[in-house]
Point group: D2
Chain length 149, copies 4
């Protein structure tokens, strides 16, 4: 992939992540940050559930969307940011497990629009289970005072 | 729309809603439950934000998805439930406001697959502002012990 | 909705529509062009089918996407154009009928990103039947020589 | 992946493909059929274009959706069929090229719902260029006389 000089993206991403009230609320942690790929982990917690006791689809979306956003951050310049225009989530298996791993990867970098794909896994006894996928479309933002970092 | 006898859906939905850990965590409340339409309200809270201080896209998704799910509940029999297969969210304006209103409505009822559309609005001074839309596809579940109510 | 001066959008849209090889191939016709809303009609034809003899999902997508695009054209300046970034289609009933009506409407106008929603109906004996819906996200294009009109 | 005995899926898929009026109209050909993966190729043709002369998004959708459908066919029993419930398409680069390759792969097999992902590429001078991606959700159909093969 053709990328701009993205400087120390790990530092920027970790700093931005700590500003997310929602990630703290979910108990989510940045697990891995690589060029064009970011992972988040989250333990199961009853406060994150829908009515059947599974991880809420909105929680899954929050985690996946955050991995896609920060995967995009690894491809943009330090003074740029991104806003998510839209995403689609497929829920493939109920969100049951001890903890969850979410990975977002850049499918199409760009100078205006970035597309990323994410996958979520339930981790417990036995092999990791694919529980959800996301495709997310983001727009690069430059020079907006309310969208920085 | 051709609907089955759905019994006292308001009671069932309110009971199911209180079982959602995630809705309590978000401070969300069921505001309105009508045949094929459900509304949820939520005050702004810094713990619900992404890195720029706007309402997190995952929080918006959680609220919209819940309105779509319960709009579906108004069209199914008491012994049935639904699972969300997938949804798409468009984020149209930053989630800024004092509180937020989310409305889900059934677009296509069915005996196997139900499609709903949702819209989210920021409420503050001035007119309500459309911040997001959702299309959600759900599957009716019968006879599964882990998916009840 | 806050719209720019869009000049004679009907003339521009009819002219652009005739340049679409795909619309001619499908036998599709522009049926209505109003501010922020465009309709296309198409007769059933066996050459437009998938393996069960229903209207092909791709044909439905082509028609819906075109209504959304031209609905966007009614909100942009004459020297601008749009490219579709992404869309989602829900197929709600098999595409059976004598002819089909597709309607695209602007949900969120904008100076960079436009969101439209479309619905497709099968027309035959009896009431029109909702067969599909679309949400489409478009980007306004300015000053690109290969994207004009 | 855990698959049922799918018999001679290549024969069934080739037969089903020839029943698609739309694939013939587009000049599309089945290029490869493997367990959980199907490819279609299509030469560029001016009759397949949108108003800027690029491959029409609906044509891209038709081809991608067909690869996803037949990838699903490789995982179902001979007496079963599938209907597409919904899909999302991201258009990443203009559809320009001498010919196009579309690949659909099963992401999540299932006994009720199947999820597939597809990618489309423009082929010309130089490396293949990613022009589009799809995520498609399908439902397995059993015992419906109008949905066979």
């Amino acid at each position: 992939m053709d990328m701009t000089d993205t400087g120390d993206f790990r530092g920027r991403i970790r700093q931005s992540f700590t500003r997310q009230g929602a990630m703290e609320m979910l108990g989510a942690e940045l697990a891995q940050v690589e060029q064009a790929m970011v992972e988040i982990e989250m333990p199961f917690d009853p406060k994150l559930t829908q009515q059947h006791g599974f991880l809420h689809a909105g929680v899954i979306s929050a985690a996946l969307e955050t991995t896609c956003t920060y995967a995009a951050y690894t491809t943009i310049a330090p003074e740029e940011s991104v806003l998510t225009i839209e995403f689609k989530v497929n829920l493939m298996s109920p969100g049951r497990g001890e903890r969850f791993l979410f990975r977002g990867e850049i499918t199409k970098p760009g100078s205006t629009i970035i597309v990323a794909d994410g996958r979520g896994y339930a981790i417990g006894d036995g092999p990791a289970k694919l529980i959800a996928s996301m495709t997310s479309t983001m727009m690069i933002i430059r020079g907006r005072q309310d969208v920085v970092g």
